[in-house]
Symmetry: C2
Subunit: 461 residues, 2 copies
């Protein structure tokens, strides 16, 4: 419980214009975009400097007050919900782009910057940060959750695109990790200890990110198959040729029907692959398109449409990008769960088949499959009556089942949404108790008082 | 000091055919390919199973006996020299390829396998493990040192190509990290805590690696420039187009002269770039070659030769690949130091210019620059009279100077050789004392008795 003295101290640290205790702001920082129950923080602070974060952490550590970092609130596993109250540290006012190292394809930012805002600035330099989680996440949130998305198949996840960090530890110590050198071998990899740690090991205040040159030329393909298995086989074949698609997505028949039903699209009602290529020249892309067309034909595609240029790409990708939003919009008043299991590509058809069968047997739900096929990551969105009982039933009969299936196939309970609240129960099953015990020891080493985002990743049982 | 009882217990664990205490084997495990002083272990064991490693670690931990992992002994910073004696665990007999997951572009191996041997097997599946450190390192050594090499500019370092590990901790606990899923967000990134930890945090017994499709088509370019700065600018321009060379190497004028002097080559005596592309089709490569030729011309290249096909690639790359060997062979009886600093690409010309100037001012040495320019990593090989005094003088006046320059340019003391023995003194300068302190705490957490490869990375001061 924060006292008025605590609040007064925090006000002194960040300034009166950067702190709120009112219901409205606390409510806005009580839940993310998942279905996990909201929990109010006691106070929200908006630091503007690393020094603010340092002082807040040191103060909170001294008084054993929970500190939960907040980016854009767009996560999907309850990752930033302040389940034990305390202080939410909202990084929104630490959103400066500190340096664009255009000639090195790097940028150094405060972590509160939203990635779409950052990419608008970077476009002026012909550069962009490639991981694309869909929502307009903050860079800090993307680092905390190791966010990825449709472009990971070519450009990697956030983890693969972080070079250096500034991190405030639980006790207020500030550390720097990594360097601006692409190649690094200087001691333990502290950078990647913090990437994906969901704010439970430290508060990331600055980051130096790898950028990619904004592609000058685009091509896009939409191709349909008789079965999901055939579509998945085409995915292997495409990657096996050495082609490097910028995105390679699978959308199932039910989702295609929903997209078509929304009006503007007329896709073949069948499993579809959406494929995008980025290239330095149109000639390169034309060569690639010929090859991918041949591979898809050999893999038994029923239809194949392609186009060169940004407009063609955008037209085809609009359908894919808006799927989640479209589905949620067309299911008002429903509860929903988005699964996030990921498997080796060879096991993707098995995961998809199992998911489809589970959905057919599960009463009272409507399910849609949308997958980052090139990566083996599958999202199934299921809608159901919005009651706690239904949530619990679907969670167990669907999400838990999918996760266990994915683990049995050599995969993981979470490809990109993180452990947060809901996936903790699977960690030992996936990695074994010794690994989870080591994670607990790391948590205890870095945050001995357990103040950083308590209740997440490896919260005490 | 090991007693005969200790040796007897170790013999029981691994079997009498897998242990040696004779001078010959101890001597073979007393030094790597660096100039760091040799130190004999007391005993060498060759485990054949993870269970052997587990029992050796638990036994050594109980009796506080140093345990140093050994791969191929090809490292360059003293990383596996058993400076406190004890047990060397040679992984050479844990060299099985456990599973080729060809359809997933993955392989699971025991870590004693040599990467060239592994790649021969993988070639039958049309796959290869891309990081190429030059020497025929073991996979375990590559993981321990986060090895990279000429192909990192396209395929990443070892760090970027490890999906999952089995690790024996100091106390004998066996943990599994990661999974076979390309996308992973399940808890703290234990995999990358061990990659690059040089055997000081655990003994890596198995690894699942990402593979790349063996390129079907190759092209190669050799292009020369008036100055190193112009060559470096061409490097930025090439990468800025979105082209993705498989290798992009800079060789300075002195090195070119040495290569030509060896006989078979007749390169322009000037700074040269060696460039390689991998492609799915010859048409793609032809398009890329046109573009890279235009970029090099705009960047002021003096000569430009290129060729398509494996033979053309091999002919051009033979010159580059054999440089280190050639230089060492042509300087018999000399001491040598190979620097390993790396900087952001934009600072590469500055680092090279400073290095060249330092070499000119330094008496009694001959120096050669060979760089992974696409990555900002520079190796300078300097030869001098083989005496301890000369070694100390050149170390200080040359290597230390280069490292400090690289750090001042936003770079690192080591791009790919690791901290080992010689770079420990630079860690705090590069990362700050708080980061080094956290590394020390991690070491103490994972290896409380300090038995794992003592004297390396963050050895007690």
């Amino acid at each position: 419980m924060l006292t008025s003295e605590h609040t007064a101290t925090l006000t002194t640290i960040v300034g009166p214009e950067h702190i709120a205790t009112g219901d409205s702001e606390r409510s806005l920082h009580s839940r993310d975009q998942s279905s996990h129950a909201a929990h109010l923080p006691e106070v929200v602070v908006w630091p503007t400097t690393t020094e603010h974060v340092r002082l807040v952490a040191a103060f909170a550590n001294q008084h054993r007050i929970p500190v939960t970092a907040w980016g854009a609130g767009s996560s999907l596993e309850g990752n930033p919900i302040p389940v034990e109250g305390g202080i939410v540290v909202d990084f929104a006012r630490m959103n400066r782009i500190l340096a664009v190292h255009a000639e090195d394809f790097q940028v150094t930012v405060q972590t509160g910057v939203l990635y779409q805002d950052m990419n608008k600035t970077l476009a002026r330099f012909g550069l962009f940060f490639a991981p694309d989680p869909g929502a307009n996440a903050s860079i800090g949130g993307m680092i905390a959750n190791n966010a990825s998305g449709t472009r990971t198949v070519r450009y990697g996840a956030t983890r693969d695109n972080v070079l250096a960090l500034e991190v405030v530890l639980a006790n207020g110590d500030v550390i720097r990790t990594g360097s601006r050198s692409i190649k690094q071998a200087a001691g333990y990899d502290l950078t990647h200890l913090f990437v994906g740690s969901e704010g439970t090991l430290g508060l990331v205040t600055e980051a130096t990110l790898k950028l990619a040159p904004l592609p000058e030329h685009f091509s896009a393909v939409v191709t349909s198959f008789a079965t999901t298995e055939e579509a998945a086989e085409a995915v292997f074949n495409i990657i096996g040729t050495g082609l490097s698609p910028a995105a390679l997505e699978l959308v199932d028949t039910a989702t295609v029907a929903a997209i078509n039903g929304a009006g503007e699209f007329d896709l073949p009602v069948a499993p579809n692959l959406f494929i995008e290529f980025h290239g330095a020249t149109e000639a390169t892309l034309e060569t690639e398109l010929k090859l991918v067309r041949a591979v898809c034909a050999e893999s038994g595609c029923r239809t194949f449409t392609s186009g060169l240029g940004r407009a063609a790409r955008n037209r085809r990708w609009d359908a894919r990008h808006e799927v989640a939003e479209l589905l949620i919009r067309t299911h008002p008043g429903h509860g929903y769960i988005i699964t996030d299991a990921a498997v080796p590509i060879s096991q993707y058809p098995a995961l998809v088949a199992d998911t489809a069968e589970t959905l057919r047997e599960l009463e009272g739900v409507r399910g849609f499959l949308v997958g980052h096929a090139g990566d083996g990551n599958m999202h199934a969105i299921v809608f159901f009556a919005d009651t706690p009982d239904e949530y619990a039933r679907v969670q167990q009969a669907f999400n838990d089942h999918i996760v266990e299936k994915a683990i049995s196939l050599g995969g993981t309970c979470t490809g990109e949404h993180g452990i947060g609240i809901g996936k903790q129960k699977f960690l030992a099953q996936e990695l074994g108790t010794n690994s989870v015990e080591l994670m607990r020891q790391l948590k205890a080493l870095l945050d001995p008082n357990g103040i950083l985002n308590p209740g997440k990743v490896v919260s005490p049982i």
